[in-house]
Symmetry: C2
């Protein structure tokens, strides 16, 4: 397989320009016998050119011959070689999706698989495949776009996890490569965005918690360089100010380790919050576990809210109040927009309905006493007055 690297491909193009593909000349043809133009020609008693004209809807064959040829093509299960098709109509028949989050993190985020399933569902009806891959960083991702586009491997790409000052946007604009941003238009440049109003959803959470009497609310963020993180954080601050509650912000990275550590840090602080909003399901489930381990009752002493509701939010005890959205539908809409963009249509932004708050057992009215702080002594207080750390259950 090493021969696939370097200039072998370039040589291949030379051959393709020099000669028409021999129906039985390929390596795979030697392994399996697919019906070819030649087979149809033989069976119809016409030339290969006539078959080509007929299948192509070009003049040069009579109506009767054309019909006979089409019938035989259907009968033998003739399917055009996708490579030949791509050469002729310039369409790769595939869209690309590159993700540059660490693979380990990706594996635990239901969000991406839901998104992919939505994209797939839409594209399968259009006989378009999804090329899905992971890149180490944005440079690698950009290199992949250039290579895909130069080699016509894809007809367009989905862009996720848009960052502040994202370099991918400019590259795609320059390449004039059809692309759809899955996320806020704020950083999408001239690219169409399929997006949800995360600020509105954030406000809904803050107002719900403030309404339940919470006066000090924490947010454990996702990776700060992402636009969606910034938008939620800004909205969190603004909403807290608007309803007159204190906002506490802690940077997170979507991992379980981080969710637990942030929770412990908040509970051990001088003024622990009575509610914590986490930026993904794994951090929220982990925060619940950390609170339970510290003997802090959820929701009696601490309310917990998760962004991006998932099956795991539903099944833990207590089940987590979460922001629910139809991620698969989101993916399907993005696919629809990209199909249009790749077909050359002028497409604008497409706004989804915002996530809705699904209230479950992990949130409740503000506790009369703040959450217990295991192992921490009140400032200036003696050990005797400190609330006893409860053993892990």
């Amino acid at each position: 397989m090493t021969g696939a690297r370097g200039l072998r491909g370039a040589g291949g193009l030379g051959v393709a320009l020099a000669v028409a593909p021999a129906p039985d000349g390929g390596r795979w043809e030697a392994l399996v016998k697919r019906p070819t133009i030649a087979d149809i020609a033989r069976q119809a008693g016409v030339t290969k050119a006539a078959v080509s004209f007929a299948l192509n809807g070009q003049p040069g064959v009579s109506a009767a011959t054309r019909e006979r040829i089409l019938a035989i093509a259907q009968e033998v299960g003739f399917q055009p070689n996708s490579a030949a098709r791509a050469l002729s109509d310039g369409r790769a028949g595939a869209f690309g999706l590159v993700i540059d989050r660490p693979a380990r993190m990706l594996g635990v985020e239901p969000w991406f698989t839901q998104l992919i399933s939505g994209i797939q569902g839409e594209l399968s009806g259009d006989h378009t495949a999804l090329l899905f891959t992971m890149a180490e960083d944005q440079d690698a991702e950009i290199a992949m776009y250039r290579s895909w586009w130069a080699q016509r491997r894809v007809d367009g790409v989905f862009l996720v996890d848009l960052q502040i000052g994202d370099r991918r946007v400019g590259v795609l604009e320059q390449l004039r490569m059809p692309a759809v941003v899955i996320g806020d238009p704020a950083g999408a440049g001239s690219l169409p965005a399929v997006w949800q109003d995360d600020a509105a959803a954030t406000r809904a959470v803050v107002e719900y918690l403030a309404g339940a009497g919470h006066r000090r609310i924490a947010r454990v963020t996702g990776i700060p360089r992402f636009w969606h993180t910034k938008i939620r954080t800004d909205a969190f601050r603004a909403a807290a100010q608007a309803v007159g509650v204190q906002a506490v912000l802690l940077e997170g990275d979507y991992t379980g380790e981080n969710g637990a550590a942030a929770t412990r840090q908040l509970l051990l602080g001088a003024e622990p919050p009575t509610a914590i909003v986490y930026d993904n399901d794994l951090m929220a489930v982990s925060g619940l576990g950390a609170a339970q381990q510290a003997g802090v009752e959820v929701p009696a002493e601490l309310s917990i809210v998760a962004w991006d509701d998932s099956a795991f939010c539903e099944v833990v005890h207590p089940p987590l109040t979460a922001l629910t959205r139809d991620v698969a539908a989101y993916g399907a809409h993005a696919a629809r927009v990209l199909v249009q963009a790749a077909a050359g249509a002028e497409v604008g932004h497409y706004q989804e309905a915002p996530a809705v708050l699904t209230v479950r057992g992990s949130t409740g009215p503000v506790p009369r006493e703040p959450a217990r702080r295991p192992g921490r002594q009140p400032a200036g207080g003696s050990p005797a007055t400190a609330p006893a750390a409860r053993p892990a259950r």
Copy 2:
């Protein structure tokens, strides 16, 4: 985009046979200017044929001209059109992976994303892409294989979730399409399998629990038609018999709903088990939630073990004892085998190390008293003698 369906592609083949692709004739060429053979020819002051010969390593140009042409090609960043390359060398440069589990279930299983990330990591070094898609059922999946193979969209496929009497194996054998089974060789026919000894891992779990004094152990299975489910179930029965403990089997389907329902059913039974082994992480986390909701202490009254350790197993409280394996490495090995198979090499089965048991807080010694059964009255007993159902905490 509707024109992409039906016979348009067939017409495309006709065009490809009739004329060489015009470098500037494609729809995308109109949008973006890629360096072409013609550009190189112009810059080098030679014919396009000479460029083609030089890039292709064919005779017809002098050594000096060849070097000059290659230098220009590199300088302008010439990359061959993948479609033309596929026509000439018969290689699609992509492998396929079709999954026919429901999308909703797929979204919650970290296993698949880990597997894909492992496959990707291996293939990216080989400049091979992964075509990933979902199918409604096995018929749809088989139709996709036939279509991919006929259209040379892929050079081979990964086969997952092998079923008893799986029809895909025979179809792939018949097509002589390179394929690698990710799973036990038992149902793989003549296809190479990359597999782990699930029976050994199952025995390790049963022996560990029996060693902790458990005498009645339940298993909530995955979907029974899958080979891996059957292999684990058979091994579970045999191992229980070998160490002299009772095996209780309940059919599951990997969903959280099912994990909770099975757990309630087991805890409410006449003789509740003191340990439950679940076939995936979501059912196990859900089982933990259901037990906690019923007031059953884990592990004091019930031990819980999960197949396929995940981040969620680590962060719940108590963290779950689980069978851990390097799923990404599994995917990488499968990719390596498929690369060899697609290159025409004779490849055999490849056995991975079995999963290892990671003992965490959810398992412990057998309780003195069986788990409490909320809402259930002992046979023949009066309500007064029934153990009080404890309120959900």
